[in-house]
């Protein structure tokens, strides 16, 4: 699945259609791509933002990055998945890892396996993951992010805001080893 966030705008499609189509394909839609000049005879509205607003389509959501703005349709993409793509597109890899770990620790609750970030839609290399961990350790506002390790060597992260050390260690072992022993 192409999750790069870049879209090929179909000049014949409306902005609303484009966003829904991209979301169904697992991609965010960039505002810049919608703003690309359309041929004069295109049925597309000249101002995609106005078109989106006037459409009243409640499924369309906007996320503003540092420079770019991104759209997705909740008909085909959840907010949580869109948030992953947003941080990837913004190259906010530390934020991606830290916020994912905090959310997992708070919501499920569970620690997050490092190999989670290796798979789709993240596709980070081991070196990238290690680099992110180093940067997390260096930052002053990520002191709650800790690492746990299962007996099979698998590494996990958790947030001490929501999980104690003992709880995180036990959940790590359960998720990685115990669960497989109790199928």
């Amino acid at each position: 699945m192409d999750t790069s966030g870049t879209t090929t705008v179909d000049p014949g499609a409306s902005a609303v259609e484009t966003i829904r189509r991209d979301s169904a394909a697992g991609r965010l839609t960039l505002l810049s791509s919608l703003l690309e000049a359309a041929p004069a005879d295109s049925p597309r509205a000249p101002d995609p933002l106005r078109e989106i607003e006037e459409s009243g389509a409640e499924d369309l959501k906007r996320m503003d990055g540092r420079v770019e703005a991104y759209f997705f349709s909740e008909l085909a993409m959840t907010r949580s998945y869109a948030a992953y793509l947003f941080r990837l597109a913004e190259k906010d890899l530390v934020g991606l890892v830290v916020e994912t770990v905090r959310e997992d620790s708070r919501v499920y609750p569970r620690p997050t396996p490092l190999d989670f970030f290796r798979a789709s839609p993240f596709g980070l290399s081991p070196e990238q993951v290690e680099d992110i961990l180093s940067r997390i350790r260096e930052r002053g506002d990520c002191g709650d992010i800790r690492e746990s390790r299962a007996s099979n060597g698998a590494r996990y992260l958790y947030s001490t805001r929501y999980l104690t050390v003992a709880h995180a260690d036990a959940l790590t072992e359960w998720n990685e080893v115990g669960q497989a022993e109790n199928p």
């Binding site: 697992g26 998945y81 499920y108 609750p109 999980l163 003992a166 709880h167 959940l171 022993e181």
Partner: protein, 705 residues
């Protein structure tokens, strides 16, 4: 016989001693639903207390329920009921097969097949609709299950469904299976068929199951059910992030995703996105090969298989060419403990062996599964592996096996992770060679034979639940007291997934607690994982629900590895499922209108009858201190750095004895049983329509004071 819907109305009885075949009226047993319920009623009425499982007086019942064969999703299970040879008191119990056997049995016109007595020589039973023949099995006896099935199919045709035993069953090994299809094993009752000289039961039917409701009504229900269903074990979130999914969890069995293939299919088949609104992709959700065997299994996967009338394909069907090196068929199939149980004997893991390189683990798994599936050995839900580890590493094998036998066993292979050890090991066990095979007597019996005491039972890593001889199966690790106390109420591993299909859904805890509150009266029925709280009333309700639904599914017969549907994958339903689906299907199929509560009450009758059978076979009302008494490791605090970790602190799942004792009483109360002893009272028995049972127990002095 009157027209029936759902039920065929007929039970086949085969008296093996005199070769007599007779027909019984299913509707005599309708209060016990079908399947397991009918089986227990027949055991209660016809098999006296004190009967040994291998005595001709014991009976074995292949049972199907009214929903089996009707097209209801996940309704292809066969429930086999008899006394359990592994049980310390030879208690009654059920074993279960998936596959197509029970559906074919219904199509042949039978709700159940009751095997009675003992054939004078090896036989197999041929059933083609209402034609029943007891055939000579001299050419089958001694053969593995694969060859047995092939030989029977050569006579009856491939459409015949065969349930057979291997050498383990013939040799009356306590831990033997009855198997159907390529990979569907019912553990624990194989030796009984062997004792009756029955190699196989084969059935072919040309009829159908009559449904009371208009077909459009049933289709409507099916579609509704298909919108609620998740993946295997009713896990309702995918294992990796996907655009449609709000949640994901690495441990989910919903493994289907873009980029993951049935790699050995020609051409390879992509499991794909599996959006829950797409009914056509339900069968791709559970790519169990990679879940059970690791990512390396993808390229060996031909497809996912499963049971009749089940959209969830949970059996991995692999082609492992390396098996030919060991004289085995390269095609191998199984699921869950069907893979992990046999290979569990390799306690030190499977390392690189025999030139199999990085795929050694998959080859080793396939060797183990092929061996036990052909020989018909049961792993006692994985216990055989833990027992090998304990007996070998603690030096007990060295002590109890004759020196010559001990020296002949290739322990070096076991230690270095060479899975060809499994070939040697299971051959010895199935053919009862030497002394080591007694490991398959089951824990309760070899513990006596080899003089193992408290240390064995109380050793945490052995995971033995009670001295009845069975291990954990979604016990304290699954919802604290909920799983723990469920595990006390059967005569074998509880095989109960009614709680797991909810707790293990992989939804966030807040959503699960909300749903728990709606079903059981309070969110406190459910604890967050590894953050356990003390026993309460709502957990007791949860336990009753799980136990009752377990018996219900095994009686209807529905797959308790999928049902009940307390949750769903649908955000628009706020992830709610529908626990009334069983009663809706029951009413539609049978034409007997039942509410959810009424059907649960019928299942409670089956629960109580099993309890009465246990009281009768143990000869005591004191269930609490005998049958239900849990081994010490369950409530012994863990230690870290020499210090005890207090129970009910985050991170420990160890239970507390006084809390479990309290919990037992609360569970007994839920069923109306005596809170002191755990035995059904006269009033409780009468409340579920078991007046005759109460009278017999009363006459034997087995009703609580």
């Amino acid at each position: 016989m009157a027209q029936t819907f759902g039920w065929t109305g007929k039970i086949l009885r085969v008296d093996l001693t005199n070769g007599k075949v007779s027909i019984d009226d299913t509707m005599k047993y309708k209060d016990f639903i079908g399947g397991e319920g009918i089986g227990y009623k027949i055991l209660w009425d016809e098999v006296p207390a004190g009967t040994h499982p291998y005595d001709p007086e014991n009976k074995l019942i292949f049972g199907a329920g009214p929903l089996c064969g009707s097209g209801v999703p996940c309704s292809g299970r066969t429930t086999i009921v008899s006394l359990l040879p592994t049980s310390s008191h030879h208690g009654a119990g059920s074993s279960h097969m998936g596959g197509y056997f029970s559906v074919e049995m219904k199509y042949a016109g039978w709700d159940a097949i009751v095997l009675e007595g003992k054939a004078p020589k090896p036989v197999w039973i041929r059933i083609e609709d209402d034609k029943v023949k007891i055939e000579d099995a001299r050419w089958l006896w001694g053969k593995g299950i694969f060859d047995t099935m092939a030989m029977i199919d050569s006579q009856m045709g491939k459409e015949a469904q065969v349930a057979a035993i291997g050498p383990a069953g013939e040799n009356q090994l306590n831990m033997a299976v009855i198997r159907t299809g390529t990979s569907h094993s019912a553990g624990g009752h194989g030796g009984i068929l062997g004792a009756k000289n029955v190699k196989a039961v084969a059935v072919k039917g040309t009829g159908s199951v009559k449904v009371a409701a208009d077909r459009s009504k049933l289709m409507e229900l099916d579609k509704y059910m298909m919108s609620i269903i998740g993946a295997n074990n009713q896990m309702v979130v995918p294992s990796s992030p996907q655009p449609w999914a709000e949640f994901s969890d690495k441990g989910s069995r919903w493994t289907g995703r873009p980029g993951l293939y049935w790699g050995a299919a020609n051409p390879p088949v992509e499991t794909g996105t599996c959006d829950p609104h797409d009914m056509q992709s339900v069968g791709f959700r559970t790519m169990k090969a990679v879940f059970d065997l690791g990512a390396g299994a993808e390229k060996y996967t031909v497809r996912m298989g499963g049971c009749a009338h089940c959209p969830i394909r949970c059996h991995s069907q692999l082609k492992v060419p390396q098996l030919e090196k060991y004289g085995m068929d390269p095609f191998v199939s199984n699921t869950c403990v069907g893979w992990s149980g046999p290979r569990g004997v390799m306690y030190n893991g499977i390392k690189e062996f025999d030139g199999n390189g990085e795929d050694s683990s998959i080859v080793g798994n396939a060797i183990g599964t092929t061996m036990v599936d052909d020989l018909g050995v049961w792993c006692n839900y994985g216990q055989i592996g833990r027992d090998v580890k304990y007996l070998y590493t603690k030096g007990i094998f060295k002590k109890v096996l004759p020196a010559e036998e001990y020296a002949s066993i290739p322990w070096d292979k076991l230690e270095k992770g060479d899975a060809t050890f499994l070939i040697d090991f299971y051959d010895r066990v199935a053919h009862k060679k030497g002394e080591i095979w007694h490991i398959a007597d089951g824990s309760a019996w070899f513990a006596q034979r080899w003089g193992l005491g408290d240390e064995y039972w109380d050793y945490k890593d052995n995971k033995l639940w009670t001295r009845g001889g069975y291990p954990v199966h979604h016990s304290n690790e699954a919802g604290a007291q909920v799983g723990a106390l469920i595990s006390c109420l059967t005569n074998r591993d509880s095989q109960n997934h009614s709680h797991m299909n909810f707790i293990g859904s992989k939804l966030p805890i807040a959503i699960q607690k909300e749903i728990a509150g709606e079903i059981f009266g309070s969110p406190d029925a459910l604890d967050a994982p590894m953050d356990y709280t003390k026993m309460n009333e709502y957990k007791a309700r949860f336990i009753k629900y799980a136990v009752v639904r377990g018996r219900l599914h095994d009686s209807l017969t529905l797959c308790n590895w999928m049902w009940p549907m307390a949750v769903s994958p649908l955000k628009e339903r706020k992830y709610r499922g529908d626990t009334s689906l069983e009663s809706q299907f029951f009413s539609a199929v049978t034409g007997v209108a039942k509410t959810e509560a009424e059907l649960d009450k019928d299942a409670e009758r089956v629960v109580t009858l099993l309890r009465a059978l246990t009281v009768r076979s143990m000869g005591t009302v004191d269930m609490r201190n005998t049958h239900d008494a849990m081994n010490k490791w369950i409530y012994t605090p863990d230690k870290k750095d020499g210090k005890e970790i207090a129970q009910f602190t985050k991170g420990t799942i160890q239970m507390e004895k006084s809390d479990l004792d309290l919990g037992l009483g609360m569970v007994y109360k839920q069923f109306g049983w005596d809170e002191k002893t755990g035995a059904p009272t006269k009033a409780a028995l009468e409340a579920v329509g078991l007046k005759d049972v109460a009278e017999e127990l009363g006459a034997k002095g087995l009703l609580p004071a």
